[in-house]
Every structure is written in structure tokens, then in C-alpha cells.
Symmetry: C2
Subunit: 329 residues, 2 copies
Amino acid sequence: MRKITIAVDAMGGDNAPGEICKGAILACEEFEDIEIALTGDENKIKSCLAKKNNSRINIINTTEIISMDEHPANAIRKKKNSSLRVAMEMVRSGEAQGCVSAGNTGAIVAGGVLIVGRLPEIDRPALGVVIPSVLKPSFMLDVGATVRCKPENLLQFASMGNIYARKILKIENPEIKLLSNGTEEIKGDEATMSARELIEAKSNLNFKGYIEGNDVVWGKSDIIICDGFNGNITLKLGEGIMQCLKNLLYDEVKKSFMTKAGMLLLAPVVKRLWARFNYEKYGGTPLLGVKGAVIKAHGRSKAPAVKSAISAARKFIEENGPDLISNEI
Amino acid sequence: MRKITIAVDAMGGDNAPGEICKGAILACEEFEDIEIALTGDENKIKSCLAKKNNSRINIINTTEIISMDEHPANAIRKKKNSSLRVAMEMVRSGEAQGCVSAGNTGAIVAGGVLIVGRLPEIDRPALGVVIPSVLKPSFMLDVGATVRCKPENLLQFASMGNIYARKILKIENPEIKLLSNGTEEIKGDEATMSARELIEAKSNLNFKGYIEGNDVVWGKSDIIICDGFNGNITLKLGEGIMQCLKNLLYDEVKKSFMTKAGMLLLAPVVKRLWARFNYEKYGGTPLLGVKGAVIKAHGRSKAPAVKSAISAARKFIEENGPDLISNEI
């Protein structure tokens, strides 16, 4: 059995290090072929692992932490002994084949480029995310790694998304659409229109034109391509709306006995609805275009989400994701 | 009493001409200072108005219709006797001071520029929309008139939004934010970053920096500025999510007697929630930057929404909206 080592940033995210350590334990219990290197404050990690320690979990002591609001590139450059940077150094040196962090997204992107390194064939990296939708989940990229893209970048995102969807998400011949302000050919800004032509010309991509905002949530495409500026706004808006409706609903329900009773009867429905839009099961956000499996877990991740992200890193490594991307381009 | 004439495109929108005519009647009943010119198929309009005809409603017979999927600029140029173009010609000639249509948005924007005409001080027009949010409604522009914007365009949108919010929405000293991929100063693409500097330098604008996607729905700004590409995607995504949740909820509820009973008890809550996000009460989407009050009503508008759009046109005319914008820039 080939051994896979995944470096996990134990100090990144809202629930670090407790839930990160728990997630690492869960992952080791599920996958016998992985070893995990937890980077972070050794004492804290030890007390989190407690008696549940697994012989395949190693601790790499680090002394610095990159916080959520630090300048990403500066933090990665200066904090040489931070849990995130050390995890990424392990990927660069080959000690690990992949890394997972629920920390500062910008720092993960910056570290992916500066520490792990870009694949020579890829000009700009992309963060891809599986967005829960009605008909089927969609894989959307970029959601924030490359803020403004040239048409060539969007083409590369389409190729990378195609590989990720086929190999990791196991979607056969995935449909690819480009996010735009309408479905007609005359729509789109200049970069989007040029990207459309470039992607259309690639015969190995199953390209189906534009998708507009209202169809995103219905899952009307396996892969959705956009630049990091739009992707970030779209993703956050979706999260914001869901969170907002949840809060409003519970506030309103509390107001009377009748509505509380109604909510009780409706509980299974509401549970099913939220479960459908639960990011935890979708296993993290890959940073595509770098020399290794770099997976960003949601900042609010609890143990099951951390385990999912580790599982995504494992799959990506098993499938030789970075090599596949290099060969495809 | 000053008489205001508003041309209304009776043939535009999913529910034309029936609901458009009903909306015109409602508006005339509410506002005694307006006259309405309904442009469209005279016979159809007459049968819609039936006995409810109001002496302040005139019919202007037209023979062509611009459909929802026509190329906007071509349609406006070629269909000289279309209900939309004739309504806009009335604004250009001064027979009307404003017009309302629930038809093809692109054609309304194209007609606003080509027929009604841009204000000389404004380089590109903007469609503004009041988006229902939790804390307070926000006025967002542009949501689709100018697909890709220069920083100077975004600055003009901020000034136009400021006037509309103050004069029409009656918000004192409205807060203005720029839609971006994060709230920190380092965020934003090039155009957004430059626009930030330009808007910041205008001392008459109450500018508060960036707003990110998840805060849009909370109403964390009175005015939200973005380009038409992003604005269109954001607006449609929001609509799509709401529609999708509504459908999923009703599908799930139908499945058992218990959940149906629960839904019955929760009905007032759900009604209040949807009412909060109901576009009908917000009265149409102004096309700002043109020489008249051009208001786009939602394509699915029924009579109350049409009345709201006519009311918005009336207010904009009463306040001399276009002059205010010219003077401000």
C-alpha cells in the first residue's frame, strides 16, 4: 500500500486546534493509507489529541500563527515558522504530498504559489468549490484565488475543473458553463466573451455556453467557470442569504406558540433542506494549479468538515491530480 | 396642479397587456396629477380596460412588439412602431416626462440611450434596484445597464445613487459602499480599487468602503455600487436562491400530513418572510443617467408592481430627477 502523507495546519480556522485535531483522528480512522502531520503548537495539539492519539498522526511543532485578517502574502513571507507555512514547506520538500488548512484563504493561495509553487503549465491558480444545488452539486472555480482573470486564465480553469470533476467528483463528461449576465451569446463582458471562444475551441471540453445567476443554485451545470472576483461575491452572497433566512426564520418562529408547534412538525423538512446546502460533506476547496494537493477547509469547519477536506486531499493525491493537470494543459 | 404624463408600454412583460392596463388604472386612481399614455395594440388595450376606463388614460396604437429574447439595440433601432419605442419617443419629444415598461431589459437600456438620450454629464447609464434586505432595503446599481465599467462610471453611479436614495427613497445622508471580494482595502480588482479612490475623494458622498457578498442581504449599506456584470449576476443569484428555496420547501412539505399541518401553523411566518423579500412594493428599477424618468418594471409584474413602477416614475419627475443628476455631476 502506497503511503500518503498529508500536512494539516492545526492552528487555522475558527475551531482550531480542537476540531482540526478531531478531524485528523476521524480521517486516520477512516483511511488506513494516510499519515497526518499536524503543524502547530505541540502542547495544545497534544492536549487536543489526548488519549485518542493515533500512531499515524505526527506533531510538527511551530511557533507562529497566521490570523484571519493578516495581509496574506506578507504573512506567508514573514512568518516562516507559522503552522500554515510549515505545512506547505512539507509539500514543497516532498515530506507530504498535500496539505489542508481552515485558515486565512488569501494566505493559503499566496502560500500555494510562493511556497508549494505553481505548476509550470498554469499561469494563475484557482480555488474550486462544490456548491450545493438542487439537481446536482456544481463545481465552481475560481472563487477567490485570481481576482481578475484574462481569458486564457479562464480557459485553464475550465481544463482544471474538468479534471477535478472527472477524477475526484467522478462525474463523467462534465458539462462546463461560463458565468455571465445572460445566456445569449451577445452577453458577457470582454474577458468572458473571449474566454467563451477559447473554451469552445477546445474539443475535449464539454462546453455548453453561459450560465446566469439564477440558474447557479439549480445545479444547471457540473462545472461553472468565473473569475475570482465574481466567484467570491457569488459564493459569499449565497452563504449570506442562507444564513440570513435561517436567522429570520428562527426569530419569527419564536414569536408564538402556534408557530413553534408548526416548526416542530416541520423540523424534518427544515433539516433536509439545510442538509442539502451543508458544505461539510463536500470536503473542502482545492487550490488548483499548484504542485501538490492544497485543500482549503471552510473557516467554520468542525471535525467532519476537516475529515472531508483531508479525504479530498487524499483522493487528489491518489489520482495524481497535479500531474493530470500538467498533462492536460 | 402640474400635470405629469407617463407613457406606459402596455405590451411588455409576462402579464401584458392585462396586468399592465390594470396597473395603469390603479395608478390613475391613486394619483390625480397623472395622465397615462398606454402604447400598444389598441383593440387589446381597450378590451383590457373594459368599463374601468379612466379619462386620464389615453391609448396610443402601435403595431410592433419587442419580445424578451430579441437583440436589444437592433430591436429598438428597427421596430420603430413598437410599443416600447413609441413610449420612449414620447419622452424624447416631451409629450411625456417619463415611461414605464416591464419588457426586454436590454431594449429599455438601449432605448434609454438611443431614443430618450443620455444626460450630457453622464458617460454610461445605470439600472438601480431596491433590494429587500434584513435591516433596511438597499439601493444597488448598476444591475445590468453597463456590463463592464471604468472607475469613472462607478463614481457617476455613486453620485446618481446618492440622489435617487435621498430624493426618491427619502434616505437622509445615505451610506454608500462598493461591492468587492472582501472589506479590507487591499481587496478589489483594479477598476474597483480605482473607483474606491475616486468615490472617497468626493466629499459630498457618504462613502464607507467595500461591502462583500454575504453582507448584501443584511442591508449593511443604503447604496451598493457595482458594475452591470456583477450586479446582474448578484441580483439573479438572489432571485434564484429565493425561488429555489420556495420550490424545495413546498415540495418537501407536500410529502406528509404532519408537515402539511406544520406548514399551516407556520403560514403567517412564511408569509411575513416572503413579504419582506417581495419586489412588488419597491416600485421598479430606474434607468439613471437619461433625459427622463425611465422605469423598468419586473418582467413578472402584476398590476400592483406596475402601479409601483408608475408611482416611481411620478416621484422621479416631481423631484426633477434628471436635472438633479445633471447638476450634481
